[in-house]
């Protein structure tokens, strides 16, 4: 891995990390300043957040320094479509569970999308495998562990 970002002046990823750390620090500090409960003895619940915020500020500023020196390690180029497939599957999962679509369908989609992202070209077959997997897991949890995973119309057929 060669590091040729130095020629551009500042290392962009390091700058971004620095800015993000400062934002987190501000969030933590602001939240602490809004708290109402104080402690009579010793230090209250706000002390630690302020310490963490100060630490994050120092780390953020250090990243700015690093950005102008060696920078962060230069990563290889990412396979973005692959990432999008997996992320898409996971976002569908969250939506499906949130909107009451049920566990089994969500799992089928996650399985199929992830396998697709990893390079398999058989979306329908993978969805079927994922469906079976989801069904088995749901039944094992429901019958053996008496733990009901999020249910939609489909799951209610089995309960």
């Amino acid at each position: 891995m060669t590091n040729d970002t130095r020629t551009q002046g500042a290392n962009k990823p390091a700058l971004v990390v620095g800015v993000l750390l400062l934002i987190v620090a501000v969030l933590v500090g602001y939240d602490a300043s809004q708290q109402t409960i104080t402690s009579t003895y010793g230090i209250g619940p706000t002390a630690m957040p302020y310490v963490v915020a100060v630490g994050l500020v120092i780390l953020g500023l250090s990243h700015f320094v690093v950005a102008f020196r060696e920078g962060l390690p230069q990563p290889d180029e990412a396979d973005n479509p692959a990432l999008l497939w997996i992320a898409g599957g996971l976002i569908f999962l969250i939506a499906c569970i949130g909107l009451g679509g049920g566990f089994i369908i969500a799992i089928a989609v996650v399985f199929a999308c992830t396998a697709r992202g990893m390079g398999r070209q058989a979306l329908a077959i993978d969805a079927a495998i994922g469906f079976m997997l989801g069904l088995i897991i749901f039944l094992v949890f429901a019958k053996l562990l008496t733990l009901i995973l999020p249910s939609g119309p489909l799951e209610r057929l089995f309960l």
């Binding site: 987190v24 010793g42 957040p49 780390l59 290889d76 990432l83 569970i97 799992i107 399985f111 992202g117």
Partner: protein, 499 residues
């Protein structure tokens, strides 16, 4: 001889048929999951935590012990046969192990790693059994200030001393501590950083963070660079068994590896990387056939594997006696304890001796089971390695989702899993270590509680931390460990300028 008596009692617990069964299931599951490429022991434990959810505490902790040791063993199989170490502690094993496998000596490599792990595990567990009560006696005298100082040492050593860049390690740690602030403050009831989201009041689950960072993050990472380096299984050719020569060359490295691994693991210094690499370089120096190193020397597998396992048992010493996790795996184990309202520490030894000693005895049992189970089952584990990568990672994400939903079935929890996964991917991409973040999340609130307790006792005087000899010494060690890498770097630069 109290220790022996307690240990015998522990064996009484561990030999109950139900407990033996749990241990066997744990060893089997741990190996099966640990063998999958890209899954280290930390992730194995995190993924399987929900499985133990409904068992009684003793049974599930015993299963845990099995999972832990099984996961370690599975990881070294992957390192040898795939040259894909699941964690940095098996890097050294992969160096020589994969070369041996390529040379058709995969069988003896796996055997020396299994038997070496067994020998190391056995010795280190004996060490644990005898060291733990001594440390408990010491720990009883610890005040909150001492605990706080100890945690600071753990923070520093986990994040700053090891890894490529102390800055990136500390960043990871501080993000973990910041996550630890989320939720209701235990001492006052003040809600912190919840932004009005009720799901956040209980704080961030350690398992959600760990599974997100390790499993989902790894899946993203592998997908992002899929096209570049396809993994290849090296088939096992020839005999599985070690020759007389192999035995002769293995036994001393096993013992030396154990001697490195256990003490370093037992210190709150975090990680098995140091002992494994120490062992590797020592074996390289002592070996009668130094020309074989780099081409598959059996000593280079035997030593680091023993060191790795011994340090795994070593990390249980601070975990059980002080409640101090010094590795990501230990942090997740601690989360497992807390799931049952158990707080490891000196009190646990006094209140639940059956449980603690049953657990320690189960480590012996798990060790024996591993070696009996794994030598004949190597063929099965190799077949697990052959699962096509797309299905493997799809399956991992399914299990990650399942585990998260079983603990807390809300879309917010899944959203966090996804967010942590993406964060884990970015951290991997830019070479930030993820383990300090998990340790920060679990140790941060503990350190805060101890500090506040200390300051309540001293009526707000922070000098109490420096007036007590133990805490003062520990803080001094932490300071040196924190500053040393930066100073060394400065010295190096100075040297470079001089040249």
């Amino acid at each position: 001889m109290d220790t022996l008596l307690s240990l015998l009692n522990g064996f009484g617990v561990a030999f109950e048929p139900a407990k033996l069964m749990f241990c066997l299931i744990g060893v089997f599951l741990g190996t099966a999951v640990g063998v999958l490429p890209g899954i280290g022991p930390a992730l194995t434990v995190a993924l399987l935590l929900p499985v133990t959810f409904k068992l009684d505490p003793a049974g599930s902790l015993i299963m845990f012990a099995g999972i832990y040791y099984g996961g370690m063993y599975g990881g070294s199989t992957t390192a040898i046969l795939l040259n894909a170490p699941g964690e940095s502690a098996s890097l050294a094993t992969a160096l020589e192990g994969s070369k041996m496998a390529k040379a058709g000596r995969g069988g003896p490599a796996l055997a020396t790693s299994a038997i070496g792990s067994f020998v190391a595990g056995l010795i280190a567990t004996i060490g644990l059994a005898f060291l733990a009560p001594l440390l408990v006696e010491l720990a009883v005298k610890f005040g909150p200030w001492d605990y706080f100082a100890l945690m600071i040492v753990a923070f520093v050593t986990v994040s700053a001393t090891f890894g490529d860049s102390p800055l990136r390690g500390l960043t990871s740690l501080f993000l973990g501590i910041a996550l630890g602030l989320i939720g209701i403050d235990k001492l006052t009831g003040q809600a912190r950083l919840t932004f009005g989201v009720p799901e956040l009041l209980n704080g961030v689950e350690v398992t959600t963070l760990a599974v997100g960072l390790f499993a989902v993050g790894e899946a993203f990472y592998v997908a992002s660079k899929r096209a570049r380096d396809p993994e290849e299984i090296i088939p096992i050719k020839g005999s599985l068994w070690m020759t007389k020569e192999d035995w002769k060359r293995s036994w001393a490295p096993w013992l030396r590896g154990t001697a490195f691994g256990f003490p370093i693991g037992a210190l709150p210094a975090g990680g098995a990387e140091v002992p494994t690499f120490l062992s590797y370089s020592t074996e390289r120096k002592l070996c009668k056939y130094p020309e074989e190193f780099g081409k598959g020397a059996i000593e280079g597998v035997a030593g680091p594997e023993a060191a790795n396992n011994a340090s795994a048992a070593g990390t249980l010493v601070p975990l059980l006696t002080l409640g101090l996790p010094t590795s990501a795996t230990a942090a997740i184990m601690l989360a497992g304890f807390q799931q049952y309202g158990l707080n490891p520490g000196p009190l646990l030894f006094a209140e639940k001796p059956d449980l603690v000693w049953g657990l320690i005895a189960s480590l012996f049992v798990a060790n024996v089971m591993l070696v009996i189970l794994n030598l004949p089952l190597i063929g099965l584990w190799v077949r697990l390695l052959a699962i096509p990568q797309p299905w493997l990672y799809a399956g991992i994400l399914v299990f990650a989702t399942m585990g998260t939903l079983a603990v807390n079935s809300s879309p917010v929890e899944l959203g966090m899993l996804f967010a942590f996964g993406f964060l884990g991917y970015l951290m991997r991409r830019y070479d930030y270590p993820v383990a300090p973040m998990v340790v920060g999340l679990i140790l941060g609130p503990m350190a805060e509680a101890q500090l506040r307790r200390a300051l309540q006792i001293s009526l707000g005087d922070p000098m109490i931390l420096l007036e007590n000899p133990i805490s003062a010494t520990l803080l001094g060690i932490a300071f040196i460990a924190l500053v040393a890498p930066f100073v060394m770097k400065g010295l190096n630069r100075f040297k470079a300028a001089e040249d």
